[in-house]
């Protein structure tokens, strides 16, 4: 029997349902796990996604045919039973559960196992086959609890304020920026943001998510107002001339890669916060275990090491090469065109 999901040049393909999950080329029907640009690509005829994901897809991909669903809604596509479940990665991110002729598969998309309070808590789903990401699939990635990182971030910002520096937090505009805005709203009334982040935040607020409102930086924003301010900026703005007007400032990068000193030094940041929207090593192992799956397919990240380790632990695991990238590091283009 052919597996329920096959790995094709277009992406993950469900043959009996005749649809794709996060395809990287245009197809007729695409189910989207979340709105990051390596998972949600342009050009497909129909998209199905979580309700929270839809406005973000519209922002990124423009008008089109989007079918929003709630987590747990059951839809049949050509006889395949499809449902979405929280992945805890970013707002609107979902795992995709497929069931057909007694066989259950789950595609994780990107996920994290710690509940960040805004993206929905990751829900382990029993299945026969689990396709998991492995962005941080090495034991060196062992996150501190969110509250601890938030505390560090706040005291860093306070310290900067006291010594007259603006704090620029570099955070991916979809996901990380929302978390950082929630973290810092505890110590400030006003958070400034780069246009890319302001756009995403605005759309999410309009869609009913309870997030702090951000003040958009424009060419007219007076310099004096920005003295010692708190500013959220996407990775693409890091080191650009856009940052000049905040001088004097210190930069803090919020990314799981900051776990390793070399990365902090490479990025020339004044501070690095290992705050990630992906599961750490223990999170990945826990998730795999809780699915009870017989077969694990590890995609984007340290898939070789992760699948080898699982095999040694007696879990049948395979590695799969995909075109998914790593949005913690890559350039952030969400909404940049609309600034």
């Amino acid at each position: 029997m052919q597996p329920l999901i096959t790995f094709t040049e277009y992406g993950l393909f469900c043959q009996p349902g005749n649809f794709y999950i996060d395809p990287w080329l245009p197809v007729d029907k695409a189910i989207i796990t979340h709105a990051h640009s390596d998972h949600a690509r342009w050009g497909s005829k129909e998209y199905l996604c979580h309700r929270g994901c839809k406005p973000l897809l519209e922002l990124r991909l423009g008008a089109g045919t989007y079918q929003p669903v709630e987590w747990g809604d059951i839809i049949y596509v050509n006889g395949v039973r499809v449902s979405l479940h929280p992945a805890g990665h970013i707002i609107g991110s979902s795992q995709v559960r497929l069931e057909y002729q007694g066989e259950t598969w789950v595609v994780s998309g990107d996920y994290k196992t710690e509940d960040d309070g805004i993206s929905g808590a990751f829900e382990p789903i029993r299945c026969h086959s689990f396709i998991t990401e492995s962005t941080f699939g090495l034991p060196i990635y062992d996150w501190e609890p969110q509250e601890k990182i938030y505390d560090d971030m706040r005291s860093w910002v306070q310290g900067n304020r006291e010594s007259g520096f603006a704090s620029i937090l570099i955070a991916y505009s979809l996901g990380k920026a929302q978390r950082v805005s929630v973290c810092l709203s505890a110590i400030t009334e006003k958070i400034y943001a780069h246009g890319a982040i302001a756009n995403a935040q605005e759309i999410l607020r309009q869609s009913g998510f309870n997030l702090p409102s951000l003040t958009r930086i424009t060419p007219e924003t007076p310099r004096e107002e920005l003295k010692g301010a708190i500013i959220l900026a996407p990775p693409s703005a890091d080191g650009s001339s856009w940052m000049r007007k905040f001088q004097p400032y210190r930069t803090g990068i919020c990314s799981g890669w900051m776990q390793v000193r070399g990365n902090r030094r490479r990025r020339n940041a004044d501070a690095g916060f290992a705050l990630s929207d992906h599961a750490d090593w223990k999170g990945l192992l826990k998730a795999v275990h809780e699915t009870g799956a017989e077969k694990i397919f590890a995609t984007h990240g340290f898939q070789s090491a992760f699948s080898r380790y699982l095999n040694e632990q007696g879990v049948k695991a395979y590695e799969v090469k995909t075109d998914y990238g790593d949005m913690e590091e890559e350039n952030d283009s969400v909404g940049d065109s609309t600034i």
């Binding site: 090495l138 034991p139 060196i140 062992d142 890669w257 776990q259 390793v260 000193r261 070399g262 990365n263 902090r264 030094r265 490479r266 020339n268 940041a269 004044d270 501070a271 690095g272 340290f302 070789s304 090491a305 080898r308 380790y309 040694e312």
Partner: protein, 548 residues
């Protein structure tokens, strides 16, 4: 009388010194601004426990404690604690690029926040471990790992694995100590150089120079030149300048004091034993002499390619055979101390006069005068510079005749005007992950030239690309490599780079038969494919032209 009396030091009751030290290391490691680093060091030297301060000076100037546990055991014990198979620990190591940090990251979270000891406490305990059996070493390591947080563990491990390469120049440390003590930077630099034992000297003693037996071996801090960009026209009138060949050897100081001879390298390594040729100079040099110059392989007064020396500098004991095959000479170009007087504040012109007089009178075949190049106009010197390779030189040094001998790298009076490197186009065939700020990125590459249908590797290089380019190459490697584990990836031979290097020599150890000096990537040849690269014959021709 010393300004040091006002400085609070040796307050050994202060605890938590290890935490203070790890904060310092962290700040120095991530800060991008020299001033912030300077502030961090200054406040450290103002507040830290005295013994810790001495150790920090020692550690940051490359004096590490004797290694008591080897890397293999450290890795094994930490892996055991973390419950990881060996291959997975290896993968982690290759991604992190630093053993001390890898161990700190994989260990289970610390058990308690027990109060931390001072840095000196850990170093002293480690020293005591030396003769103890392995089980006791292990027990101590595990205990320290259990009580230290992630950052603490990292610096603790670094004490054992060595090498605090964290972007602190000797100069920066000297500046901060000068601030704290109120002493001149040049005095501080001299006092913390040379031979001293961190366990036996206090911070006050070290910096006041008191209480210690006078150390006769101490070299002066070296004066270093900046590269001259865009030619000498900006330097003004040529008559104000002295030109010399820029040698490609080991910069060193030759010292005769107190009836003893010392040879120091620029890296502050005492190398007297490595160059027995210099022994006769002890009888010849007047008491209280310090010469600055270049140690070069040489025969009958003529410098030879540096590659000749490679076979003997790594050895602890030099063999007779090496002495005859790779003889050395000291090419002196400056006189820093004469008849026990510090000459550094005297103008170069005068120092040079005295140096020439001294060396002419000694007339010894291993102590040679590095010649001054006579020239009229800058254009003329430019033409002379083109002969650099024939002279086994890297270019020309320009020194202002009126200049004093400064400390460290300074602009203005000394310039190095190097010749353009040799270049060759080659294709990348292997890639390896880097270390430090390049960890988890494929940054170390092996290059090959063509020999008919096959590719022959000839050089490894890891610098010269921008961060953005490194990112692109890294992406290419990940998409186009075969093996999955271990540090090295065999890459589809597709990316072509121009490799620049300073010299070329015959080598029996390399498949290609040549060894390059200072190979690095000079640019990415996007315009070229693997079919356009240079051949092994091209390399061999270069060897014939420049390899002698």
């Amino acid at each position: 009388m010393t300004v040091l009396e006002t400085v609070p030091y040796d307050q050994e009751e202060i605890s938590g010194g290890m935490h203070r030290f790890s904060v310092l290391v962290n700040t120095l490691g991530t800060s991008t601004k020299t001033n912030e680093k300077l502030d961090a060091l200054t406040s450290y030297f103002q507040q830290a426990p005295g013994k810790d301060k001495v150790w920090v000076i020692a550690l940051f100037s490359g004096r590490r404690p004797k290694r008591v546990v080897n890397s293999r055991l450290l890795a094994e014990w930490s892996r055991e604690q973390a419950g990881l198979p060996p291959w997975l620990f290896e993968e982690c190591y290759h991604t992190v690029g630093d053993l001390a940090e890898t161990i700190a990251l994989v260990l289970p979270s610390p058990e308690s926040d027990s109060p931390e000891h001072n840095l000196s406490w850990y170093i002293e305990r480690l020293a005591e471990l030396g003769p103890l059996p392995e089980v006791e070493k292990k027990a101590f390591m595990l205990e320290c790992w259990r009580e230290l947080g992630k950052d603490g563990r990292f610096v603790f491990n670094k004490l054992i694995t060595g090498g605090f390469r964290i972007g602190v120049s000797q100069q920066l440390m000297v500046q901060s100590l000068a601030r704290v003590t109120g002493l001149e930077a040049s005095i501080v630099a001299h006092r913390i150089s040379g031979n001293w034992e961190p366990a036996l000297v206090s911070f006050a003693e070290l910096l006041s120079g008191e209480g210690m037996s006078e150390d006769h071996s101490k070299p002066y801090p070296f004066y270093l030149a900046y590269a001259l960009e865009g030619g000498p026209d900006s330097l003004g009138d040529p008559v104000e300048w002295q030109a010399e060949w820029k040698w490609d050897g080991i910069r060193g100081q030759l010292i005769r004091r107190n009836g003893q001879l010392f040879v120091w390298s620029r890296g502050e390594e005492l190398m007297t034993d490595k160059f027995p040729e210099f022994n006769p100079l002890l009888q010849l040099l007047p008491e209280g002499t310090v010469l600055d110059g270049e140690i070069m392989p040489a025969r009958e007064g003529k410098p030879l390619p540096f590659a000749l020396l490679q076979t003997r500098i790594g050895r602890k004991n030099v063999t007779k055979k090496q002495l005859t095959e790779a003889p050395v000479a000291f090419f002196a170009y400056d006189l820093l101390e004469y008849a026990g007087n510090d000459f550094r504040d005297i103008a170069l012109e005068e120092r040079r006069g005295q140096l020439e007089q001294l060396l002419t009178s000694l007339h010894h075949p291993v102590l040679l005068l590095s010649p001054v190049i006579t020239f009229g106009e800058w254009r003329e010197l430019e033409r002379i510079r083109e002969q650099s390779r024939d002279k086994v030189a890297e270019g020309i040094m320009l020194k202002r005749r009126s200049s004093v001998y400064q400390v460290g790298r300074k602009r203005g009076d000394w310039w190095k005007w190097k010749i353009d490197p040799l270049t060759i186009d080659a294709v990348m065939v292997y890639a390896q992950k880097g270390h430090g700020r390049r960890s988890n990125l494929y940054t170390d590459y092996t290059f090959a030239v063509r020999d008919g249908e096959i590719l022959v590797t000839f050089a490894k290089a890891y610098s010269g690309l921008t961060d953005k380019e490194i990112g692109q190459v890294d992406h290419f490697v990940r998409q186009n490599s075969l093996e999955k584990f271990g540090p090295v990836r065999t890459v589809k031979p597709e990316l072509v780079f121009e490799i620049a290097f300073e010299g070329i020599a015959a080598s029996g150890r390399h498949k290609s038969g040549v060894a390059l000096r200072f190979p690095r990537i000079s640019r990415w040849r996007h315009d070229k494919g693997p079919e356009d690269i240079n051949t092994l014959d091209d390399l061999k021709k270069m060897l014939e032209m420049y390899g002698k």
